[in-house]
Symmetry: C3
Subunit: 142 residues, 3 copies
């Protein structure tokens, strides 16, 4: 598969909780990072998703926020992956930020250049990649 998503992570389904329309899928990546995805029950059936199955989680860089300080705050976003900024690439309006997790995985986010300046985001700074479970697309080999 060749797709433009900057974030393509292989993992294994560790849990599934099904609602009436959607299911919540927990995916354990290498190095103990975990991602939560929400997909329709139709996709669960069509892709044969079940605990133990290998899947690929795709997250578009534009769906990801960069948080440099969460002191005293809790968020409704289900995915908060902590690491260190390893790349900052600035355009006029947009910037691409790489956050390297301790497991070795790098998560890419596109945010505004203004946000980079205001938060003083630069290489080496501690930061978390924040994204909603509904921003994750799942893929399976067939």
């Amino acid at each position: 598969m060749k797709i433009s998503a900057r974030n393509v992570f292989k993992g294994t389904i560790s849990n599934i909780v099904s609602g009436s329309v959607n299911s919540e899928i927990d995916i354990t990546l290498g190095g103990n990072d975990k991602i939560v995805a929400i997909v329709t029950n139709g996709s669960v059936t069509a892709l044969g998703l079940k605990t133990g199955k290998e899947v690929t989680a795709l997250i578009k860089a534009s769906s990801i926020l960069v948080m440099t300080d969460s002191t005293g705050f809790a968020l409704s976003a289900r995915n908060v992956l902590a690491g260190k900024v390893s790349k900052v690439s600035n355009g006029q309006v947009s910037s691409e930020i790489g956050i390297s997790l301790s497991s070795g995985i790098t998560v890419f986010a596109t945010i505004t250049h203004d946000a980079v300046k205001e938060l003083d985001i630069k290489e080496g700074v501690s930061a978390s990649a924040v994204f909603k479970a509904s921003s994750v697309i799942l893929g399976v080999a067939q």
Copy 2:
């Protein structure tokens, strides 16, 4: 909290409607602007969301559309905030648009530069910020 979302709005929960998996949360900002968010019931419990509670609504600029004319049209997007364009910052591909609401709040959207040209978006023009309830992340102080 320091996070890259260009839109960070403090408000108070004015209503909650719970479904089987998700809940719809109405948030009243200062100046009578209102935002609707959809989050999972798990987040409602984890964050202790209830009517009257103060929350912060986060919306990424890339999740927001700019509408300059809605004559004769209704949209499924739950959030349509009307104001005037107060900032236009153009890159080669992307542009950042600020829309100032009558309450004094400014909403930032990143859209394509092509859209800015086609809609002739410039400072002073009337415009609405349009975004889905599912694009809102909620945060609470702990």
Copy 3:
């Protein structure tokens, strides 16, 4: 209606499946292309959505992924529209890609410039526009 969404497609509702909170709406465009949208049941009622009704589907370019090879892979994203790349406009961080479908419709996606380079996306290449049903906003004339 004048709105910044790069993708504004007129079509007719061909099917509706309602869950407890959301409904899945199938929309048939001209030329047999089909789009699936998920909106809240509240919007279904407010907009009077029903089979046969004409609607406009809006998808922000930043919600769309570009896939150049899906061999051996299935995705949870409900919308995969196959065509050929007809436009590549590169910025420093972001690029805008046009994918022309056989029906004559062009779908626009904004992806990172890095993705364009890695996937070697250029005019004439076969590619699919991939987006989630939850990324679609529906509009109706009133």
